[in-house]
């Protein structure tokens, strides 16, 4: 049984297939066809819906109340709606009156074929609920996961700007106390698990379930796993959804360690990560789309073991460790030791990632990250570089250089690192170290990039790092100078 709030009432779903997505449920079971399927893979945003959930002031430091998140319903498990409010495009209009966000889209000629429009409207609605004022960059960030093939986006940007001119009040503001009460009740109710879909409430429960069912499949955000449902048409016998394990979503600073729960979605951990590692800001903004970051978790990104995942290179460069747990036992491992081969890790059956622990940087230390892809927004890296530097009097006292997209796993570049350590941080030495990358990596050619480009551009990223770290005057970064 999945219970969530829909249209101001508690909605109960019984007997749904554990792999059922929110989108299929809406379209096929409820005949709510306003939400569209464009790609069934989380890449186009036509299926965007908004999930409102209770803020958790005690764990995430948010203000009490409702938090609104745009998500891709096509790759979101129906079960993950448990205890949340689901808002779809049909819920925005009241009688003949369009919601202000919808009205702005009409006024600005923001729709042509209209197929992407409900998704845009929902992303805009969530953005209106979370942002304070109109800012073009923030709008592009909020709508970067919604593709439109007709308009060229200009009228949509105008509509998203215009929506901030109106009041923030809408029907959802008015019913907020009622919604909060319903959601609070749902969290108190004893959950009734759907067969084949476990939703543990604590890490201990999770550990126990996995100990008993080591073959069960863990799902957090599902942003990658559910491609196996929608694209590979795979069925899962036993899913364990960890998105509601509060302890797994916390972020805390312990001395000089930033300690992050493995099931924390990226959008929740952006602020603490960027506060400590400013270079991660751009990388995180280009990791998937906002819909993906609202669901996708740091632990999932790591455990998925993709060679082109964006965060592992940065975490490896930072010397991050992970706390793995199996039953009652835990062990700490370096992330760089986690991957063994293509899509293989050291995780044992029944073992899971509990926390990610990142050492903070001292004054003489810095982190530089760069991602290259065909498209700036919501694209997968051709190559992704992360460079950790400890400079002492202009000498490289220590460095860790890690790349994604350059090998079958995300990993370090020892030859390049060794060429730098103990040398002056200058262009000539960086060029020598860049040359050494040819010893470290033999990348493949595929549809994202040729081996030549991967290697040559990666070498230039080291040069970019040098130029950026040492040169104040010359424009180096495109997005800062466009």
């Amino acid at each position: 049984m999945v219970k969530f709030v829909l249209q101001d009432r508690v909605h109960r779903v019984e007997g749904a297939d554990p792999g059922m997505t929110v989108l299929d449920y809406l379209r096929e079971r409820l005949a709510r066809t306003g939400t569209k399927e464009g790609c069934a893979a989380g890449d186009c945003g036509a299926c965007t819906v908004v999930v409102a959930s209770l803020a958790h002031p005690e764990t995430d430091g948010a203000e009490p109340g409702l938090r609104y998140h745009a998500i891709n319903s096509c790759i979101t498990p129906l079960g993950s709606l448990q205890g949340k409010q689901l808002i779809t495009v049909e819920d925005l209009q009241q009688g003949d009156a369009l919601h202000p966000v919808q009205q702005c889209m009409v006024d600005q000629h923001g729709s042509q074929c209209g197929f992407c429009t409900p998704g845009f409207v929902m992303s805009m609605f969530a953005h209106r609920k979370t942002a304070q004022s109109a800012d073009r960059n923030a709008i592009c960030d909020a709508l970067g996961g919604n593709l439109c093939r007709c308009t060229g986006y200009r009228p949509i940007i105008d509509a998203a700007t215009a929506m901030f001119e109106g009041s923030t009040q809408d029907q959802f503001t008015h019913t907020e106390p009622h919604t909060l009460a319903l959601l609070a009740q749902l969290t108190i109710d004893e959950p009734e698990n759907t067969p084949g879909y476990d939703q543990p409430a604590s890490v201990d429960q999770l550990a126990a379930i996995l100990e008993q069912h080591p073959q069960a499949t863990l799902v957090a955000g599902g942003t990658d796993l559910y491609l196996q449902v929608t694209q590979s048409l795979q069925r899962f016998d036993h899913l364990v959804d960890i998105s509601d394990v509060a302890e797994l979503s916390t972020v805390r600073q312990e001395g000089d360690i930033l300690d992050i729960g493995a099931a924390a979605p990226y959008s929740d951990i952006r602020a603490p990560l960027v506060a400590n590692f400013p270079s991660l800001g751009e990388l995180l903004d280009r990791l998937g789309s906002l819909q993906i970051r609202n669901r996708g978790t740091i632990g999932g990104n790591i455990a998925n073991a993709s060679p082109i995942a964006d965060m592992p290179p940065a975490l490896i460069a930072l010397g991050a460790t992970m706390r793995l747990r199996c039953g009652e036992n835990t062990r700490d491992v370096m992330l760089e030791d986690f991957y063994t081969a293509y899509r293989r890790t050291i995780l044992q059956p029944g073992e899971f990632i509990e926390r990610i622990r990142i050492p903070l940087l001292a004054a003489e230390e810095s982190l530089w990250t760069y991602k290259l892809s065909k498209r700036w927004e919501d694209d997968i890296s051709a190559t992704c570089a992360a460079i950790y530097l400890r400079l002492e009097d202009g000498i490289v006292a220590d460095t860790r250089i890690a790349f994604g997209g350059m090998a079958e796993i995300p990993r370090r570049a020892p030859a390049s690192e060794n060429a730098l350590i103990g040398t002056s941080w200058n262009e000539a030495n960086v060029r020598i170290a860049a040359e050494k990358l040819t010893e470290d990596f033999h990348p493949i050619s595929d549809f994202r990039a040729s081996a030549d480009y991967r290697l040559s551009a990666s070498q230039n990223l080291l040069l970019r790092c040098y130029l950026e770290s040492s040169n104040a005057g010359t424009p180096i970064r495109m997005h800062l100078h466009a």
Partner: protein
């Protein structure tokens, strides 16, 4: 009818919703509220099953064995359709044969993803799972995906064709300067947000009701009837709207409609067949990639003396529309430039890929792009700004430089003044100087600037398609129902045609309902393509409106003894002399006096003719003109880039709806920019499309739109031809303005040689391609 409905309390006033007004898209409110119904949203009969297609997993070979037993046994499967089951035609080639609907044992596979069989099951997932269970043994044969190789081997889907004027070879040889070059442009996936989908419901008379997301309902009707072996009158195709088409649903909607109809016929119940996104990418045609070779002779100022150009389009495995598409590339090899002597040859190369098809511009962009690449190289060769060389070569009324290489006279010289205007409004020369200064001081980041024009011929080059029909009913409450043969895919056609009818009757737009395009309302229609939608259907609707108006005026004459000049339609009223009637009152009166309030309208484009044997004539009724200035910033370390600013001026004649036209221009420009930048189609050695989803094929996202984006409709430029209210077509032409972005990227790369050399930059100019172009430029300089 005895009881007439009560008259609407409409107060006389200004009818505002007319031609030239910036009305919202007719379905805007439905779009934003999620109420707009696409095919997949239509409530289906309870017994409806879902279809899926089994596809080949090799690119070339013979099917030795096709065992579908596991498919048939798969859970939920109710019917399996093979080639042998088809009662009627088995080939659905739209113009020429060559597109088998399915393949059976012994059949020859010609591309990876070719349809072999279809299956119907209880759910979408069950159907798709079953479709993957076929056991197929192939005898592989060598496949080819390379245009140049195919051309060498003379593997063509249609014969090559040449347009020529004068002795190009001699003119080139006599020129002070000569240049030989090659250029490649990649294909483009339509990536309509709504994928291909059809819903077919068998009717009581062994016919078929077909709901299909198609730009060409009449062709869908014909092919469904043919594969079922029944007359066309038993098949009705309806489409209210598409979630994008762009040419990809002109002929390539047919296969899925035919398969759904056949499955429905076989299973005896409704079938919905919706392609998953990957199947859509793999199984439907795209924009043709082209490889072009040219030799051009010019003088020291860059003035072209003669051109020889070979345009080779990669057609995929079958003709589809490739004859006309490569023809249109040839028709646009001049773009806006006078070619005193020219030999333009088009080749239709067969490759082992899905059959490429219509895509916004229909070959025109590819021909134009090759020529713009040539102009860039001429400009660098003579050391002039490419804008100067472009302007020097424009068609003009002087010295007889006003006819195309296929003999059509350019009667309206809009481009030179339009470009001059845009040069001013965009401050081209001021920014050129500023950019050169910036580039001197910036070693890593470089800016680029380019202005490119686009002159696009309007009319189907297949003459019989230049016709349209419309149907207007006026009901007794004065409400008007409008129907025409054009389809709505987001371009605002229904809105524009409704404006035409509102204008004709001088009533508010709210009085008019445009209903779904259906083959039983307006028959024998042409595809909504070639930017012709408003030109053709607007005129047909106007014809229908004028027929009814004439009846009403005649009625007023007989009834009131009024002279025709005393009857006028104004502000939701009909004035008869001094008497004023509300439109509804007058319609009721006409009805009571037995006046027919329904009419069909018809239009055929005048004055066009073309003789393909002599490759000369007047294939185009008129030309739509425009130009764009794009500025980009590139990172020479990585090849990444951003578009900083775009300025566009487009000639739309007297706009029917400026808001909609601007939407077409902005959207077309960004789509064209996408084609030439991030949209890259990559096939593997095995002929499998590797960029087969939105995850791997990157269309422009919101951040790719320039922060500074200025679009102007060329003012005071009514179409000289008698088009609908002297407007001009706007659907395709702006796509070609995206060429400015590609040119600007090349300009930024050329800065590395201090503009002495042309960038070696094919299309799409992905970051990798820009990086490689920078690297080779640096190595040479």
């Amino acid at each position: 009818m005895r009881n007439l409905p009560a008259q609407n309390a409409n107060t006389p006033g200004q009818a505002t919703s007319k031609v030239g007004a910036e009305l919202q898209h007719e379905a805007a409110t439905l779009h934003v509220s999620g109420a707009a119904r696409y095919i997949d949203d239509i409530p289906v009969p309870a017994s409806c099953l879902h279809g899926a297609v089994g596809m080949s997993t090799i690119a070339s070979g013979r099917i030795k064995r096709l065992d579908l037993s596991r498919v048939r046994q798969s859970p939920g499967v109710q019917a399996v359709l093979t080639l042998q089951d088809i009662p009627g035609h088995r080939d659905i080639g739209p113009v020429f044969p060559g597109d088998p609907l399915l393949l059976d044992e012994g059949g020859v596979v010609q591309f990876h993803g070719q349809a072999l069989f279809a299956v119907a099951a209880d759910t979408v997932t069950e159907a798709r799972q079953a479709a993957r269970l076929a056991e197929v043994e192939y005898e592989n044969t060598e496949s080819n995906l390379d245009i140049r190789h195919g051309l060498q081997e003379e593997q063509l889907v249609r014969p090559s064709h040449t347009q020529s004027r004068g002795n190009a070879k001699a003119a080139i040889e006599a020129s002070p300067r000569r240049l030989h070059g090659e250029f490649s442009s990649g294909g483009q996936e339509h990536m309509y947000l709504e994928g291909q989908v059809s819903l077919c419901i068998p009717t009581e008379d062994n016919g078929m009701m077909v709901y299909s997301s198609t730009q060409h309902p009449s062709e869908g009707q014909k092919l469904v009837a043919e594969v079922l072996g029944i007359p066309l009158h038993r098949v009705t195709v309806e489409v209210r709207r598409m979630g994008g088409g762009f040419g990809g649903k002109e002929t390539h909607a047919n296969q899925w409609a035919c398969l759904a109809a056949l499955l429905a016929w076989k299973a005896g119940c409704a079938i919905k067949l919706r392609l998953g996104r990957v199947d859509d990418f793999v199984g439907t045609g795209k924009r043709h990639p082209f490889h072009t070779e040219f030799t051009v002779g010019f003088d020291d100022s860059g003035l072209i003396q003669g051109v020889e150009m070979d345009l080779a389009g990669g057609c995929g495995y079958s003709p589809d529309l490739s004859d006309a598409i490569v023809d249109r590339a040839m028709f646009h090899a001049d773009n806006a430039y006078y070619l005193p002597a020219a030999r333009i040859t088009g080749h239709r190369v067969k490759t082992n890929a899905v059959s490429n098809t219509a895509f916004r511009g229909f070959g025109g962009p590819q021909g134009m792009l090759a020529t713009e690449a040539m102009i860039e190289r001429i400009a660098r060769a003579v050391g002039e700004d490419s804008l100067t060389v472009r302007q020097r070569n424009f068609y003009s009324a002087e010295d007889g430089r006003d006819s195309t290489h296929y003999g059509q006279k350019i009667e309206q010289h809009i481009i030179p003044s339009l470009v001059e205007r845009l040069v001013g409004t965009s401050d081209y020369w001021g920014r050129r100087a500023e950019i050169q200064e910036y580039n001197r001081q910036s070693p890593v980041l470089k800016r680029g600037l380019a202005l490119t024009p686009a002159k696009f011929g309007i009319s189907f080059t297949v003459q019989h398609l230049n016709q349209a029909g419309a149907l207007i009913h006026i009901y007794t409450d004065g409400s008007i129902q409008l129907n025409h043969g054009g389809t709505e895919m987001g371009q605002g056609l229904y809105t524009k045609v409704a404006q035409v009818v509102a204008h004709a009757f001088q009533v508010d737009i709210e009085r008019i309902a445009c209903t779904a395009t259906r083959t039983d309302k307006v028959p024998n229609t042409s595809p909504t393509a070639a930017s012709s939608g408003s030109d053709l259907n607007g005129m047909a609707a106007l014809d229908a409106a004028e027929i009814i108006k004439k009846r009403l005026v005649d009625f007023a004459g007989n009834h009131f003894g009024a002279e025709p000049g005393d009857v006028c339609f104004i502000d939701n009223q009909v004035h008869v002399g001094q008497e004023r009637y509300s439109f509804a009152e007058f319609i009721q009166l006409a009805y009571m006096n037995r006046i027919s309030l329904s009419a069909t309208g018809y239009y055929r484009t005048p004055e066009i003719h073309y003789n393909r044997d002599t490759a000369s004539g007047r294939p185009f009724f008129y030309f739509a003109n425009g130009a764009a200035v794009a500025e980009v910033l590139i990172d020479t370390l990585t090849g990444e880039y951003r578009m900083i600013r775009a300025d566009i001026c487009q000639d739309v004649g007297e706009s029917l709806n400026p808001a909609i036209d601007i939407g077409q221009i902005e959207g077309g420009f960004i789509q064209g920019a996408g084609w030439l930048t991030t949209e890259e189609l990559v096939w593997g050695e095995d002929g499998r499309l590797q960029t087969n989803s939105a995850a791997s094929y990157k269309i422009p996202a919101i951040g790719d739109t320039p922060g500074d984006f200025r679009v102007e409709l060329l003012p005071d430029s009514p179409n000289r031809e008698a088009t609908i209210f002297h407007s001009k077509a706007v659907g395709e032409p702006p796509l070609m303005l995206g060429i400015a972005v590609w040119s600007a990227l090349g300009d930024a790369v050329a800065s590395l040689s201090d503009y002495r050399e042309s960038a070696q930059l094919n299309a799409p100019a992905t970051p990798e391609q820009v990086f490689m172009a920078c690297r080779s430029m640096r190595e040479r300089n």
